[in-house]
């Protein structure tokens, strides 16, 4: 079935792509520094024709319909290339999470997407208009194409049912043909992939540490081998050591499976270290985007510079952070 096919194919034909995507990304976005208006034309021109794009979001506007109306995301364009890591940085409340929820159609009233398009370019060539999906189609789209890892490592798992059942839920919904034995095997395989003892399928979430819970969430996000994984501050609640372990795990898994990642965080230095490209958000707009290298060496926007300078270096000097040691 498609499941097994995907497993076979994924490592073979997707892994080389990130480099391609990177170079493409540099080409397209390199000249653009202050994004707002200029980036649109460049991005949208070849996007749907090129096969290495996984999601195109155009002119996305999201409002919170409260009094007064809060414009959380304003005319944002975002292109995610297959297999790349796109870092989305910005302070709390700048609209990062809202944008990510918008891409996966998870917005709930009073949040409302007032304008824009989100197109998912499937691996087999179909273009899916995400905003037009309804009911069962939307359900089938979620997790199978785009999976998410959420902010709250502690609360993303249902506290009263076992890990096994929560993993099985994904299979029974999206892969109705799978037998119990196959599901069990796959669940165990997934857990060992993320470095968790496979016997933990028998555990309840409260029996796991925060880091393990987040690993389990990542395993779950991998379950259907999605083409895009949205990670919304996946390491916020964890200490730096566990954080590094999990980030490495994500990088390693991306190497194997070649999924694209939207990585949302307010930790810009970390983003620069792991992302192919970085977009900086402020007050609902993307104020700057570019490759990590560009942002690091040659930030243009005032806000980006401010963000970069707000992290002290290891020697305590502000504005000259050093995060070397381990490259990735």
């Amino acid at each position: 079935m498609s499941e097994t096919q995907a497993t076979k194919e994924a490592p073979a034909d997707v892994t080389p792509e990130p480099t391609e995507a990177e170079s493409a990304a540099v080409e397209v976005d390199a000249p653009i520094t202050d994004a707002e208006a200029t980036s649109h034309a460049d991005d949208s021109a070849g996007a749907s024709a090129e096969r290495d794009v996984v999601v195109t979001a155009r002119n996305v506007c999201i409002e919170y319909e409260v009094d007064p109306i809060v414009k959380a995301v304003r005319n944002v364009d975002l292109t995610i290339y297959r297999g790349e890591i796109l870092g989305l940085a910005g302070e709390s409340g700048c609209g990062k999470t809202t944008l990510a929820y918008g891409i996966n159609r998870l917005l709930k009233a009073p949040a409302l997407m007032t304008d824009g398009t989100v197109t998912f370019h499937d691996k087999d060539g179909d273009d899916i208009d995400v905003l037009a999906l309804e009911g069962d189609d939307l359900r089938a789209f979620r997790w199978d194409k785009v999976s998410m890892v959420f902010q709250g490592a502690m609360n993303s798992l249902n506290p009263v049912i076992k890990i096994r059942k929560q993993l099985f839920d994904v299979f029974t919904t999206h892969r109705p043909g799978m037998t119990k034995v196959e599901m069990e095997g796959r669940a165990r395989e997934l857990l060992s992939l993320v470095g968790v003892d496979p016997d933990r399928v028998n555990s309840y979430p409260h029996e796991l540490s925060g880091g393990m819970r987040q690993r389990v969430m990542i395993a779950m996000a991998l379950a259907l081998e999605p083409q895009l994984m949205i990670m919304d501050e996946p390491t916020t609640a964890l200490d730096v050591v566990v954080q590094r372990g999990i980030i490495r795990e994500i990088m390693r898994l991306r190497e194997i499976f070649g999924f694209a990642v939207i990585f949302i965080t307010h930790d810009l230095p970390m983003l620069l270290e792991i992302s192919d490209r970085v977009a900086v958000m402020k007050e609902g707009k993307i104020v700057e985007r570019g490759t990590s290298q560009e942002i690091y060496t040659n930030a243009q926007h005032e806000y980006t510079k401010k963000l970069l300078s707000s992290f002290p270096s290891l020697t305590g000097e502000r504005g000259a952070f050093v995060r070397g040691g381990e490259d990735q």
């Binding site: 996966n104 998870l106 009233a109 939307l138 359900r139 089938a140 789209f141 979620r142 997790w143 199978d144 999976s147 998410m148 959420f150 902010q151 709250g152 609360n155 993303s156 798992l157 249902n158 506290p159 009263v160 049912i161 839920d169 994904v170 919904t173 999206h174 309840y204 409260h206 029996e207 969430m217 779950m220």
Partner: protein
Amino acid sequence: MRYIGRRLVIYAVTLWAAISLNFFLPRLLPGDPAAILIAKMSRNGDVTDAQLQSIRRLFGNPEASLWTQYIEYWQQLFRGDLGTSVSFYPTPVTELIGAALPWSIGLVGMATIISFTVGIGLGMFAGWKRGTWVDHIVPSTTLLQSLPYFWVAMVLIYFFSVQNQWFPIIGGYNVFMFNGPEWSWDFVGSVAYHAVLPATTIVISSVGGWLLGMRNMMVSTLGEDFVVTAEAKGLKKRRIMTTYAARNAMLPSIAGFGVALGFVVGGFVVMETVFSYPGIGKLMITAVRGNDYALMQGVFLVITLTVLVAMFITDMIYGLIDPRARQNV
């Protein structure tokens, strides 16, 4: 297993305390059951010395120390002897309670379970549909909750037994067709028929509380991260509503279920009196009216036991559905 063991110990201590209170409280009251019985009997003629002696022996010796009485009380309990009723002399209390208990447990137990299930079900639905027209219906169920049992009972009787003679006014079964409880489908049918109005009374006046509690918990659970995760996983709406949201939202309701049974006891005393239902509540009223201490004590004991057993069962169920409870506590 350790969870059950620990719970059992806690309940054993509670039981001991309840039984001891049940022993000491009546003895702190003024009045002497034996004297009352003797007074009652002497109204119908002289009481002989032999009778006096046997009554004294029956009710225990008031001159003995409280401690000796306490020991004797426990010994009697273990023999299953709760004394003799004064109002139904010489029927033993155990016999009276044994006859009344199934009625109460059957009626109140069933009605409470129905009320709980219906309330939780509707509450789940109302919470799921938050922010829609359903929200406007919720307050009216709370209004029902505030109506007193006896009033609801009388209104029901007025409309469904007096105005339209659809349901019987009183009793637990048709006393003209049956001489006493028996095992036959006809009898079971008669019991069910007689139970409709009393059960409806209990359900009407208690369903609102469950509904509101469940609805509010449901709304707050729906905001939890794991529900959003479930949605992002593309699970079916029904699955999210039951296994992810309701399963967690109902935990406080289940914890409250045992406690609520305590209040239900108070309710059914009134309800059984209105419907002349042959249960524990009516027995208790009779006992209080007749200064029947032994019977009162027995009824209190049984009520305490019932609530304890109900809470124990609730605890077990809670441990079953919330894995965290099994570990801690």
